[in-house]
């Protein structure tokens, strides 16, 4: 039970990262390799602002805001000017952005590991015979809320529908008057927002450091792929599965090799079911 809870908690973090991937992929077909760095950036800036004696709430707002700006700038300065570049070019650009963000954070905020205080104390709760940190509940709750919001956004709002339209056919969307470029920009901003919130909520548990985004991003991608790229529900389910497997691996086999789990999984998933759980019709077991 203990492993299940810790697995679900990390899984929820991966799910949020996966959601960010899905969002940008949905709107643009680009896999943003800097997605994990959004999580890192949000947490690192928040930690730095806390260090400057800002109240916690304000620090979080600052961290999230900084990350959203980074997401918008990434689109404005790097993705948009590249125009109709090939997918490989766009991948390379986001890899460059990822390294660049890490480098800037390393210089400005330092190389040290940072942690954030838990939102509501460190006393663990007993749930079903397992010890659970209150922060874990925060993570799970935030994930649930954000997923619900995303769902509502795409189903109920005009903007969300416009985003789906651009994803489906950017030319046709433009023909009916949807400003495709602005919608794309919005998708980068939104996924940065998702990433930053996830990063901040997770940081009291995972701690944060300039290069943690690589791991978080990779695992988020594995989760997104497992669930079926572009599917919000799939992203969440994928995240939880990856988190669970990792926790079980750490608990029963070897904690040193738990980080290898998602990477072995990804090759396997991509080969066996390239469309993920939700992409393939045959596997609607959820």
């Amino acid at each position: 039970m203990q492993f299940v809870f810790s697995g679900l908690t990390t899984g929820a973090i991966y799910a949020l990262a996966a959601l960010g991937f899905s969002l940008i992929y949905n709107a643009s077909g680009v896999i943003n390799f800097a997605q994990g760095d959004f999580l890192m950036l949000g947490a690192m800036v928040t930690a730095a602002l806390l260090g400057a004696h800002l109240p916690y709430g304000l620090a979080i707002a600052g961290g999230v805001l900084a990350t959203v700006c980074a997401g918008l700038l990434l689109y404005r300065l790097a993705i948009k000017p590249a125009g109709d570049a090939s997918v490989v070019s766009l991948i390379i650009i986001t890899i460059g952005a990822s390294i660049f963000i890490q480098g800037v954070v390393q210089i400005v905020l330092g190389k040290n590991q940072q942690t954030l205080p838990a939102f509501s104390g460190d006393a663990s709760l007993r749930v079903l015979g397992a010890y659970v940190l209150p922060q874990a509940l925060w993570v799970l709750g935030t994930a649930a809320v954000l997923v619900a919001l995303c769902f509502a956004f795409f189903r109920l709002t005009l903007l969300g529908k416009a985003m789906l339209a651009v994803a489906a056919n950017s030319l046709a969307a433009r023909a009916v008057g949807i400003p495709a470029s602005r919608v794309l920009q919005l998708s980068f901003g939104l996924s940065a927002l998702l990433g930053a919130v996830a990063g901040v909520v997770a940081a009291p548990i995972t701690t944060t450091v300039y290069d943690i985004g690589l791991m978080l991003g990779m695992k988020g991608f594995v989760a997104a792929t497992l669930g079926g790229l572009g599917s919000a529900g799939g992203a969440v389910l994928g995240g939880l599965i990856v988190g669970l497997l990792e926790a079980l691996m750490a608990g029963y086999v070897s904690s040193a090799y738990k980080d290898a789990v998602p990477f072995v999984m990804i090759v396997f998933i991509l080969l066996v079911m390239p469309h993920g759980l939700f992409g393939a019709r045959s596997s609607d077991r959820v």
Partner: protein, 313 residues
């Protein structure tokens, strides 16, 4: 294709001349040391270019093979007393086997999936190197004995320069020949259109596997040599940033261009030295180079220059 033959052969002679005459222009051991590092990096970059240029796919886990070469060489010389030359060959063979085993599943992936899978490979190798302390020395790395061939010890930087220059020249020759072979032309077709290449009866999968194995061997040889040259290996060899550094060399120089890979390796190795070391700014630097190249010079330096020259003529 006749045209490219005429272009390529003199270029090999020029390269040989430049490599042979360069030591005369190098004032001290420090500069020669940089030249050795450039040559070793260039060998790995040429290898990566085989994969990225041929298959049109980006790998950001290639440092894994550099690390396999370096550690393979280090472990069998330091722990089993193999002679270095045999160790280098053994490490290269080991990397080839690893590459061959994973090539089939990995190369069935495309685009971002393949990129993620290569990244995963790099991360796994990095984790293994850090955790198998008894074999690899763990996070601290391990010392590697110096290079001895027969009774001759490569003790001076100039010895190393000679060795690295010869190997670099051979790598360029091999790479050019691979690109120009029937298989190579077929693979370059892949970069344009895999479907078209397949429609013309090209066994796409087999060529891709071959390119992957070849690129792993280049990387392993470069890693082995660097291990003996520096006398030390550490897990950072397999780090993500090292993989990205290699990919940046290829992208900057120009994908599918052998001399581009050499130029990219030279620029990215020499520039930080000229700037007096980057002191923690490496990541910002490589990230910027990568983004700017893709945005403004997506074909890379050498192909873009070549195009411009040809237009003028």
């Amino acid at each position: 294709m006749k045209n490219s033959h005429a272009l390529l052969r003199p270029s090999l002679l020029v390269l040989a001349a430049v490599l042979a005459l360069l030591p005369l222009a190098m004032p001290n051991n420090y500069v020669i040391d940089v030249a050795v590092r450039i040559a070793l990096a260039a060998i790995a970059a040429i290898g990566l270019n085989l994969l990225m240029g041929f298959a049109g796919q980006i790998s950001i886990g290639h440092a894994a093979f550099v690390a396999i070469g370096a550690y393979g060489s280090g472990i069998v010389t330091a722990r089993f007393g193999w002679p270095p030359l045999a160790a280098i060959a053994g490490a290269a063979a080991g990397a080839a086997v690893v590459a061959w085993l994973i090539a089939k599943p990995i190369l069935r992936l495309k685009g971002h999936s393949l990129t993620m899978a290569t990244l995963g490979l790099g991360v796994i190798v990095n984790i293994v190197l850090i955790n198998e302390v008894d074999w690899t020395g763990g996070p601290d790395g391990m010392p590697v004995p110096p290079l001895m061939v027969g009774g001759f010890a490569f003790a001076k930087v100039l010895h190393w320069y000679a060795l690295a220059a010869v190997l670099l020249w051979l790598s360029v020759l091999l790479s050019l020949n691979l690109f120009d072979s029937p298989a190579g032309r077929a693979l370059r077709g892949l970069n344009g259109s895999e479907v078209a290449a397949r429609a013309m009866g090209v066994d796409v999968a087999r060529f891709k596997v071959r390119a992957f194995v070849a690129s792993a061997v280049f990387a392993a040889v470069s890693g082995s040599l660097a291990a003996h040259y520096l006398g030390f290996v550490s897990p950072s060899l397999a780090a993500f940033s090292h993989s990205v550094e290699l990919a940046t060399m290829v992208v900057l120089g120009g994908m599918a261009s052998t001399f581009g890979a050499v130029l990219g390796a030279a620029l990215l190795t020499a520039l930080p030295q000229l700037l007096g070391g980057l002191h923690g700014y490496e990541m910002v630097f490589f990230g910027l180079v990568l983004m700017l190249t893709m945005m403004f010079l997506p074909k890379g330096l050498v192909p873009s220059l070549a195009l411009r020259l040809r237009r003028k003529v």
